[in-house]
Each structure stands twice: as structure tokens, then as C-alpha cells.
Amino acid sequence: MAKFKMHLLICGGTGCNASQSQEIAQNLKNGLKDKGLENEVQVILTGCFGFCEKGPIVKVMPDNTFYTEVKPEDAREIIEEHVVKGRKVTRLLYVDPENKQQVADSKHMGFYKKQLRIALRNCGFIDPENIEEYISEDGYSALAKCLGEMKPEEVVKEIKLSGLRGRGGGGFPTGLKWEIAAGNHADQKYVVCNADEGDPGAFMDRSILEGDPHSVIEAMAINGYAIGATKGLVYIRAEYPLAIKRLLTALEQARTFGLLGKDIFGSGFDFDIELRYGAGAFVCGEETALIHSMEGMRGEPTFKPPFPAQEGYNKKPTNVNNVETYANIPIIINKGAEWFNKIGTEKSKGTKVFALAGQINNVGLIEVPMGITLREIIYEIGGGIKDGRQFKAVQTGGPSGGCLTSAHLDTPIDYDNLIAVGSMMGSGGMVVMDETSCMVAIAKFYLEFTVEESCGKCSPCRIGNKRLYEILEKITKGNGTMEDLDNLANLSRVIKDTALCGLGQTSPNPVLSTIENFYDEYVEHIKDKKCRAGVCKSLMQYVVDPVACVGCTACARNCPVNAIQGEKKMPHVISTELCIKCGACIEKCKFGAISIQ
């Protein structure tokens, strides 16, 4: 990268792509050509910067200027002002939502200050479609170190010492997993990268594969060497076309450079990687289901043991790790287990990537050291709740996790603390909710997901979750009883204890944690027939304020079921029996006379 004086980095992740980042890159390239600067300033389409809320992002290096919400037509001004005259285009700079001040560079942005980027180290920094840029950032040097200087058992030992735990959800120690797979002898072993990211609200694996595919390829080769496998497979969602494209490009380049294939670095070690596409089934994130899906079958889980490390793909020992786990491996090898071990809490080392989403100012992808508090994430990195509303809950761990409240804001986040407060790390989805979210409806939302995604193999999950969903439906319709609430909790515990795989065993968590933390809201739905968030339609009533109503008849004319009666110029009345709560009247009323109670 050294021969250019300046670099213009444009985010080319799925989010910014949807906001014309390709056109911005093209316009910048054309503009540089017009000025004859194409050999001095380089335009690079990178992976995700994480700050998706304000995309598309253009970052100018070396001064770290961070332009947000850039449009294709802004390219000319960036070149004429910033590149040629050295003056920042102030109207495109990020404005701090707290003090309304413009921030000149990314180092001073609250969003980045508390972050520590290890797994995302190259995302938003290098061109993911160019292997030379990865190599210039020490890429493939960890593989060279392993093959040249370390024995396989030394690699396993290093990963064990680092304390790295699986980032896909369970948090199983990665080094231990490798040790078990290494200890099982067979004529063929496999390493598998689980890129079947299915949690609603999580997109870290996609961003890593789009922004830094080589780090995953390098880590898989290291994993292969450590456990004695020569074949790698990436199981990736078919819903991620851009990630698939970049991964295929990266694999081809690695083969051309001799970093995959036969006799890598002249060490005698052979290794290559193939892709397998998922076809839209959440349960395939579970490792035994994933293996069956890779074998061309229905993705149904099977009982463990035997664990994949004993009997996995094609009945051979198989090590399955998630994308983010792999992204940590090369840097651990390069910097050493001791360096990694110093970051994080006692039992959870390193960092975790979270997809911060929901009713929060700075939506995006963040990477923070383990042990950070929810308060730091939500208020310092996330910039607080949207539109000045009140924080109500944060959901972590997706359909397997739970909802935490303001009482948990100062709990240091790591694997064990989250489980202790009734949620879990999961793959790292973090959805923030304000008072406009109804917690009973949220529990129902997750159960709807589980019911749809249950593979149907075991009855606790297939039937039990359906019953949970029906009880929640009954409560949100205003027909629930206190006995239903007891049944919800009891049935949840039975499902947790008896379901076959991780999906079923964790599916009642959203129900249990909302009952635990928002018991009053359930009781309100049942006893008072009220939904304080105004989400559950059956519990709402549309009412006309007789003082504000001028009798213009606009609402009555637009009501699809003729539920509104009243003479011209006289206050109107809504029949609650006929009303279907479509909201058409509120939209048409120019006098703000209709409200929901």
C-alpha cells in the first residue's frame, strides 16, 4: 500500500452496497482520473466499517477523516476539496448526537473509542478481493509460522493457552475441541467452518467473510495442520451472495499463491477448501444438523455423543468452528497466547463482535473486549436510545437468549455472566428495545420463529414450542388466565430439559426471561387486558375525543368496516365491536382527535 500518498476507503459491505457505494467508488475513481491523480491516490472498496447506521462511509487515510451518508454526487467535492486542496468537506463529517459537534476523524468518535478490533482487524481496512493487501497485513504469516516452526500439538497447545472459546454461541473452549479431534485417528479428517449465521439480528459472520475472507481461510488451514486434516469445508448460507462471491475469489487467489493445495510452503502439508451451500434452515447451525446437511440430507440433529470430533462428516473426525472463532486464530498464533489471554475476563478471553441493532442511535457492528458493560455498549458506543426515548430491554443471544433490563446494565458481559442472568452470548445479536416494544409480543415473536424453524424430529420442540406459542397468542389477544402463566413457565422448563438439540433446549429462554424480568407486563395483559406499549392490537381501543373532533366525516368515510358513526359537524363515535383496528381513521384525521387507549 506504500506507493500511494492517500487512500480513499469505501465500505463495500451489503449495507452500504444497498446505498450505492459501488457508484461512489466509481465516481471517485473517475474524478481522480480527471485530475491526473490516479497514481497517487488509491480508491479501495473494503469490507464493513461497522457503522451501518450512517452508511455509506468513505474514510480518508492517513488522516482518518470519516465521511458519513455519502452520495455518489459528493465524490467530486471530496476530490476537489479534500484530495486536491487538503480541506475537509465539513458537511459530510459525522456529527456527535450528544453535543452536536462535528467530529474530524474516526479516532474521536464515541462509536470507535471503546472498541477493540481483533476479529474485525482488517474489515474496512483492506480490499477483501485482493490477497496482496491481506498478505501486507501479516496475512498467511501465522500459517507459515505453524508449518515452519511449530509441531501440530504445539499449535493446539497455543490455542488452548489463549483461552479462546467458540464464538458461535455455546462458548466451548476451542483448543480443547481441537485437542479431541487431533487425538482421534483416522485416514481422513475434516475441518468445517460454520457460516450458517441464522440468528435474526446477527450479521457478524457475513461481515467478516465479506471484509476479510482470507483470515478464515488461513485459520482453517492452521486448524487442518493442527488436527491432521487435509480437507476443509465452509457451510455458508445461500442468502449471502456477496460473501459467497468474495470467498470464492479468495480461495482462487490462495490456490494461485500456493497457500492452498499440495505441499504448502514446501512443508509437505496439503490442504484445500470447498464450499457447501445452506438452503434456509436455522437448525443447520447446530453442528450435527450442519453435517447432515453437508452430506445432502435433511438437516436434522442427532444425539451427541458421538461428537463430530469422533464421528462427523462422512463418519470421520470433524472439527466445526464458527467464522468469528476462526478470524481470531491467525492473530493469536502471531502475537501469542499470552497477549490474547490478557484481554477479557477470567473465563472469557479476548473480544466479542456484536451486531448492535434496534431502537438505538448507532446501529452497526462492534467489537469489544469481554467484560465491558451493557451501559458502555448502549450509551457510549451505541449513542443511546433513538429519539430520546427510554431504554426498556436488550435482547442478546437471538432465539436462544433472553431479554435483560436496566437492572443488568452494569453487569460485565461474558459467557458465564450472561447465562447467570438468564440469557446467553449466542452468536452476538444485540437488539435494543425502548418502551414501544411489548415484551409479551417479543416472546411470541421468537417463539413464532422457533416453531417455524423446528425440524420436527423431537416432540418437546415440535409440540412443546407450538403450545408455548399458542398460550402467548392467547395472552396477547386478551384471553389469558393466571393459570396460563404458570403453564408457560412449567412447559418451558420441560422443553429445556428434554429437547434433543441446542435449538430446542434454549428455545424457551425468551419466554422464561421475559416472565422473570417483565412479570408485571404479563399480568397487565391477563388481568387488566392492557398492553402498555400499544403493540397488542386486541387490547387496544380507538377513541374519538369529542372536544377535538369537528365532525368533518373524513374518518367515517375512510373506515373500511363502517365502524364510525356521527352527524356532520358533530363529534363522531367509534364502535369498538365493529372496529378492526386498522388505523385508517388516525391517518385521515387532521385534528388529532383519535387516539389509542
Binding site: C52, G55, A238, E239, G299, F445
Partner: protein, 164 residues
């Protein structure tokens, strides 16, 4: 193959596409472990995977139709019904849900006059929901074919659809 063609309902899809599917199966050496990749390719060629196509694949791969059908119906990506020219996927991941994804679904159902999973009478749009398209920063989001639309609100729907 003749037998299959005669039982086929539509006139313009026939030999050609089945031949392409046969080529794909050969390319994957008819290995049962490649069934999912073969189905992905077949759906791209044929548009969807009706029973006669499933029968054709089973016969060519020398496995039972129930095995093929079991896999087709297990995964939401595979469709056994014909699809519209364009597929609208409304994201219903948690982030889009809390920012109003449900209102988009209701709006689209009203405008298009169809339910989820259905195709408009003119064969133009198929309406479906997705469990997170990974664009949480753009919530609520939807996709029409491969284009992502960000921060959509119900009032924008008509103008977005009019582009197609």
C-alpha cells in the same frame, strides 16, 4: 424423459431445462451428498421444483423420490410452486421487527392483494418474509430479487413497486 414431458403441465418448459438439469447431475457425479447443490442449480434452471422435476432428479441419481422430496420440503429456500417474475423478501429479523417490518408486510399484502407465500395473478411478484437478511443497520429492510431497500416505510412501497 418422454414420460415426464407428457405429464408436464406447461408447454414452454420441457426437454431443454431437464437436459440442463441432467448435465448438472452429471457434473456432480450423481453423488447423493451433492443433492442440495444439485437442487440449488435445478431451481435456478427450472424456476421451482415441482414433483415431476423431483421425480426426474431422483431417477437420474438413482435414489428414491421420497429422499429428494424430503430434502426439498425441509429447506425454505426450495419452492414447489411456480414463482413470480420478482421475489419480494421483507426482512422480519428482530431489528426490522422492532422497527416496523410487520407494517411493511401488511402494506404489501394490501397493495398486491396476496398473502405471504403467494404470487400475484399477473405472475409479477411473489411475497415472502426472510429471517434476517443481515442488513440490520438499514431496518426495516426488504429485498426485491437481489436489490436491498433500506429504511422502508409503508408510504414508500407503491413507488418502489412501480419500478418493476
Amino acid at each position: 424423459m418422454n414420460e415426464i414431458q407428457s405429464s408436464n403441465c406447461c408447454s414452454d418448459c420441457g426437454n431443454d431445462q431437464l437436459e440442463q438439469i441432467a448435465n448438472v447431475i452429471d457434473l456432480y457425479q450423481a453423488k447423493p451428498s451433492n443433492l442440495i447443490q444439485i437442487l440449488h442449480a435445478s431451481q435456478q434452471i427450472y424456476g421451482y421444483l415441482p414433483l415431476d422435476v423431483q421425480e426426474f432428479i431422483a431417477q437420474k441419481m438413482n435414489i428414491s423420490v421420497s429422499e429428494v422430496s424430503g430434502v426439498v420440503t425441509f429447506y425454505s429456500f426450495f419452492s414447489t410452486k411456480p414463482r413470480g417474475e420478482h421475489t419480494i423478501l421483507v426482512c422480519m429479523g428482530t431489528a426490522c421487527y422492532v422497527r416496523g417490518g410487520k407494517k411493511l408486510v401488511e402494506g404489501l399484502q394490501k397493495i398486491l392483494g396476496i398473502n405471504l407465500g403467494e404470487t400475484t395473478q399477473d405472475g409479477k411478484f411473489t411475497l415472502e418474509i426472510a429471517r434476517c437478511i443481515g442488513a440490520c443497520g438499514l431496518a426495516p429492510a426488504m429485498m426485491i430479487d437481489k436489490v436491498v431497500y433500506k429504511s422502508v416505510n409503508p408510504n414508500k412501497l407503491e413507488s418502489i413497486l412501480s419500478k418493476y
